[in-house]
Every structure is written in C-alpha cells, then in structure tokens.
Symmetry: C2
Subunit: 171 residues, 2 copies
DNA sequence: TACATTTGTGTAGTTAACTACGTAATATGG
DNA sequence: CCATATTACGTAGTTAACTACACAAATGTA
C-alpha cells in the first residue's frame, strides 16, 4: 500500500537521512511562510531573537554555547541580522576581544508581530504531533545519542558479533 | 535540572533545528565510523548501494524518484561513487538521454562487508529507540507533514486567530 | 514532417551547518 | 615582567541538500 518511499523500507539505516529531509522541508516551508507574510526575516533568526530577548546582551561565544551551535554559525546568523538592522554589536569594555550582541529598537518593535507568528507555528505543531508526543520523542533521542553516540553504539554491536563468532570457534 | 539546552526550552519552534542537529550528528558519527573501520565509503552511499542492489540498473531520474531526492543530489552522490569505483554508468540504448547506473564488481564484492556494518547500525538504533518507537514516530511525522505542510498549518492557525478577533469586534 | 513540448541530464549558484586555522587580546607563571 | 598559554572572534574551505536554468533527445501534434 504505502510502498512509495524506498528510505522508509530501509528501517533505521535511513533514519538520519529522513530526519534531515523533514528538517529541510520545515526550513523550506518556514521560508515560504515568512515570504507570504511579507516579513523580511529568515527562518533561523528566531533563535537569536529569542535568546537576546531573554538575556538582553550576550557575546558570540555565549550565544554559541547556549544554543549549542558553533560560533561561526552564530556569526553568520547575526551578521545577516545586523545587515537587516535587527541586531547591534558593541565591543566588550572590560575584554577587548569579545563582541556583545543585542537587539535593536527595530527588532523590539517587530518582536510582538513575530511572536504572534511563532506562537501560531508552535500551536500548529503542538496540535499536529500531540498524540505522538513528537517533542518528547525527539528530546529522548537527543538525550540518548548525547549519552552514547551512533558510532559507539554501532561499534559495540559489531563487537558483540565478533565476540559471538569467536566463542563459536572456541566451542 | 536539565535546563542546559536553550532550544529545548523553546518547544516546537526549535523542532526543525533540533532534527537537523540530530541528523548532522548521525552523519558526523557515521563518517567517523567508516573511517575507524578503514572503509573508503561515505555515509549516504548506502542509499545507492541498497537501491542498485535491489534493482540492478536504474537511471538518474528513477533513483531520484525512488529515494525522494533531487536529481542533482543523485548525480553528486553517484559521481563520487563512480570515482571510487563502486558504480558504473551506461548510456540508455533506446533513449539516448538517459544514463543507467549499476553497481560494479568491486561494489558487489564489498557489499557483504558493508551490509554487516549497516546491520550492526540498524540493530544498535533499533535497540536504542525500540521503547519510544522512534521509527514509527518519524514515519508519522513524515506522513502528516506530507499531507499538510508546516506553512499551511501555521497559516491556518494564524487565520483562526484573525477570525477570533474579528468575531470579538463584531460581538 | 516541421515545430512545440516534454523529459532526462548536467551545471551553477544558494543555504546552513560544520571543522580547521589564523590573529589579537588577555591571563598565567616562573 | 616577559614568554607562553588560553580565549574570543574571524575567515576559509567542506558537505549535503536544494532550486533554477541550460541543453539535447524524444515525443506529440497540426
């Protein structure tokens, strides 16, 4: 019946590819949503908006740590937001190396409108995935893979097989 | 207690970003696994190995359709596999435009070894996510987002709010 | 049968993440 | 207090997906 998708027929081997596909489709749709609403912002800027709304001022590295991204990714994100006038930058006073980031007035003015949209997205997904506990399952996957990554798990499984066949030879 | 991850605190807004992060970490770990095992193959080649093992010969477009990727992605993947000697190519006889792809002898010889490793990965993840039905949940997310995408769901939710406030004004 | 359309492949350019490395500022320790 | 290490940021280059467009071959149609 739904034999359509080859990747689905592969089981967990296709897991990562499928996760990427889903996330790409969200990203793509998010971009279209912003466009359709006439907003000149990009899908992942919400991360910076949200954390700078909460913390007022943060350095590049602080943001990178808090959101678990590499600092170059944070720089790219925020550079674009600076170009669009939503983030401003000031060199650290005590430590001349750090660059502090904060939201501009323009950002704060736009925030209510943006949050209205993010809330709508939030509720839409919460409604869509409530019964399958989407968020909880993803959280659990993160937790487990954080604890022990794919490589270690696969190696462990391979090792078990080697052990089994060694035992067979011994017996 | 586990207040560590800012994205997790955001709910479904961070959903796509987190999915991407998980899939990136799988990809990264997969690459390390192959390296550690001394295999000169790349993480996503399994898709092509698997489908060409099953179907023997397929064109670029046929593969793209079957695995739900864009055809340029298929070309990039298979070009690398051709360079590594795992895939060969022949122009279609009836239709001069199509390029048929199939596994080389080298690929067929390596397949048992590769499948051993893929099986180990499969079992490792099946074991890790059995109790939370990881695969089923992902399948369900795919199915639902395929049926109605994020943009439409969010727009619908936004529209409901507009309607509500209109009604309020009327009342 | 000539012309328009469709189809299959190929190429170029975009995006969003990453690692690796370079550089400048600060901190440390003998 | 100078040399070395560490830290924060910036830049360059990689990866894997995508869309948009170009072009050639095949198909359909008037």
């Amino acid at each position: 019946m739904e034999e359509k998708d080859f990747l689905q027929s592969l089981g967990y081997i296709g897991f990562a590819t499928r996760l990427k596909r889903i996330s790409d489709s969200f990203l793509h749709d998010g971009r279209k949503l912003y466009k359709e609403l006439g907003l000149d912002i990009e899908p992942n800027w919400y991360i910076i908006f949200k954390i700078l709304k909460l913390e007022k001022k943060l350095s590049v590295t602080e943001i990178a740590e808090r959101v678990q991204m590499s600092h170059p990714s944070v720089i790219t994100l925020t550079d674009n937001m600076i170009a669009a006038g939503y983030v401003k930058t000031r060199r650290g006073r005590v430590d001349g190396r750090v660059r502090m980031l904060e939201l501009t007035r323009k950002a704060k003015i736009r925030l209510p409108e943006l949050e209205k949209m993010w809330d709508a997205g939030e509720v839409a997904l919460e409604t869509a995935f409530r019964d399958i506990n989407g968020l909880e399952v993803i959280g659990e996957i993160e937790r487990r893979m954080n604890h022990k990554g794919f490589k270690d798990r696969a190696m462990h499984e391979l090792q078990k097989r080697v052990n089994r066949s060694t035992k067979h030879k011994k017996a």
